[in-house]
């Protein structure tokens, strides 16, 4: 549904987005990750046709966003960053306006407004002015606007920003449900959201895509992916590390914690261990009192940090 090819955007001499390409099909939820200022919002603004790209192309449902903007925009629902809404209108008035401008009239409009009011839990504030809404309600009002015409493509810029944990949960559930029938892109810097809602994730840094894959694939890139954490009681930490180093699959052992006789270590596998490490360590530690033995799946925030940080580390070194 969404095809982005070699998209680039210059602001003056600054390259905000630098040759980004990806595509999102129906039934996919793409998580768009990256540090602040990485070019997430700029990319989304180009996809929705708000900013014209400096070079490259975006097509939505087969329509080029520059050549056929109206046809393409009809397919898109867009939640901009900070969820703007007309502050002088009531929630009801605002939703009616957006429905009308999306070409919904009469009964169709009434139904559409009713549907999103229910989906986004806006009934309580329906006749309240947008200006007086709390951040969460305002956010949901703008979100409701983006799905009012039941679009095939949803572009959501930080849809859970400023929501409380319950609302975040609801929105993620909503995104996941809608993702079964639509093509969705949403940006976030909350990594747990990627697991909760995405079928695929892209990490973008300084305008370039630095990683692209399913959440599981991304986790694989983590240092700790495949490592095994072991906690035992009543054994000296030196004994633990020495014995673990004798396990053939172990490449490296680090001591995480040693307190009140509880020792926690993490063993990293050699290449090709393929998940057999936990078994091997369990056997090596068979005569100790094991409190915890856990194979790590890898952590997204480790991946995120290691992918988006090394450049700054290099700069500091220079």
């Amino acid at each position: 549904m969404i095809k982005v090819q070699n998209l680039a955007k210059m602001f003056g001499t600054k390259r905000a987005v630098d040759g980004v390409s990806f595509s999102v099909d129906r039934g996919e939820v793409l998580g768009f990750l990256g540090p602040n200022g990485a070019g997430k919002s700029t990319t989304m603004r180009m996809i929705t046709g708000f900013l014209p790209p400096t070079s490259g192309a975006v097509s939505v449902g087969g329509f080029d966003i520059v050549q056929h903007p109206i046809e393409a925009r009809r397919l898109i629902g867009y939640l901009p960053e900070n969820a703007p809404a007309y502050t002088d209108m009531t929630v009801y008035g605002f939703l009616n306006f957006t429905a009308e401008i999306r070409g919904l009239r009469g009964d169709a409009r009434k139904q559409a407004v009713g549907r999103v009011v229910e989906m986004c839990f806006l009934k309580a504030v329906l006749h309240q002015s947008v200006e007086t809404l709390s951040k969460g309600f305002r956010h949901r009002t703008c979100f409701a606007q983006s799905i009012i015409h039941d679009p095939d493509v949803l572009v959501l810029d930080e849809p859970t920003d400023g929501l409380d944990p319950n609302q975040k949960y609801e929105v993620r559930q909503l995104i996941r449900r809608m993702g079964e029938k639509k093509a969705i892109i949403f940006s976030t810097h909350i990594l747990e959201e990627v697991d909760a809602a995405c079928s695929r994730a892209i990490i973008i840094d300084r305008g370039k895509i630095v990683a692209n894959g399913t959440p599981a694939e991304l986790r694989q890139k983590s240092d700790s992916a495949g490592a095994v954490t072991l906690r035992v009681k009543g054994v000296a930490s030196v004994t633990v590390t020495t014995r673990l180093y004798q396990v053939p699959l172990v490449k490296r052992v680090t001591l995480l914690d040693d307190k009140d006789g509880h020792v926690t270590v993490r063993a990293f596998p050699k290449a090709g261990a393929n998940g057999a490490l936990a078994q091997a360590i369990g056997e090596a530690a068979h005569d100790w009192q094991i409190e915890q033995l856990q194979a790590e799946e890898g952590r997204l925030d480790d991946v995120f940090r290691s992918i988006t940080m090394p450049d700054t580390a290099k700069e500091v070194a220079q």
């Binding site: 955007k9 210059m10 602001f11 003056g12 603004r45 929705t48 046709g49 708000f50 900013l51 014209p52 903007p69 109206i70 046809e71 925009r73 009809r74 898109i76 867009y78 901009p80 960053e81 900070n82 703007p84 809404a85 007309y86 502050t87 002088d88 209108m89 008035g93 306006f97 957006t98 009308e100 401008i101 999306r102 070409g103 002015s129 703008c142 606007q145």
Partner: protein
């Protein structure tokens, strides 16, 4: 067909926005008070003993509009940019033109309403004597067209900034220029700094001379075209500004 539907949707929203804030009511009250005050106490309408609204009433309009129209137009785009709703508006399946025209029309209709509410003035002069209704009618038309020209200029300045105050100040200055463009001191300054063709162009921009015809009861197509072309040109400039602003 569909295009005008979109324009009308925008117009309805903007008109609604005027009347949900106190701005509209404050504006109308101030406008009517100013009209009444200047007509009766400054121009001495009653003492003049003349059954005509031209001098005592319509003569003030270019000056009232100088401050009041920028106040009406300043929020059109500046507010959209400040709140960020411009991003919503311009990613809807409408063209930028439809949004620009819709917003302009809303403000222009609002000004028409304010102007229509001065009808007691007409009733008064009808009660006191036998005015030429034709002249009053054409003067109203001219006044409304002039307001539209000011308003279109305010659209430009509003699109330039996200601050309503800045927009207001710049458009007051430009509108003042439109009034004074026909005055000799301004022409002299221009001839020193600008090329002759530009000076000529600016000179022909004075709204005063074009409004004059309407006040004499003449519907001159040149005057009408002048005001309409100021409007079209300004709205076109607005669209260019909005586009370059987005192009980064």
């Amino acid at each position: 067909m569909n295009a005008w539907r979109n324009v009308w949707t925008i117009t309805k929203r903007e008109l609604g926005a005027y009347f949900t804030s106190p701005l509209a009511y404050v504006f109308i009250v101030i406008f009517l008070l100013l009209c009444g005050f200047f007509t009766f106490f400054v121009a001495h309408f009653l003492e003049a003993g003349e059954a005509s609204l031209v001098r005592p009433f319509f003569d003030w309009h270019p000056w009232f509009y100088l401050f009041l129209v920028p106040a009406v137009g300043m929020r059109l785009w500046a507010e959209e940019r400040r709140v960020g709703t411009i991003e919503l508006l311009l990613t809807m399946p409408i063209t930028a033109w439809q949004a620009i025209v819709g917003k302009f029309l809303a403000s222009w209709l609002f000004l028409a309403l304010a102007l229509l509410l001065t009808f007691p003035m007409v009733l008064t002069v009808r009660y006191l004597g036998h005015p030429d209704i034709g002249i009053i009618f054409t003067a109203y038309i001219g006044s409304w067209l002039m307001a539209g020209a000011y308003l279109a200029v305010s659209c430009i300045t509003s699109a330039l900034t996200r601050s309503q105050v800045v927009s207001f100040i710049i458009s007051v200055m430009v509108c003042l220029f439109l009034i004074l463009a026909g005055y000799p001191p301004v022409i002299n300054v221009l001839e020193q700094f600008a090329q002759p063709w530009l000076a000529d162009l600016v000179t022909s921009f004075s709204v005063m001379t074009h409004f004059e015809g309407f006040q004499k009861g003449v519907l001159d197509s040149r005057d009408i075209i002048f005001f309409l072309s100021v409007i079209v040109f300004s709205l076109f400039t607005t669209s260019v500004i909005l586009r370059t602003h987005r192009a980064g």
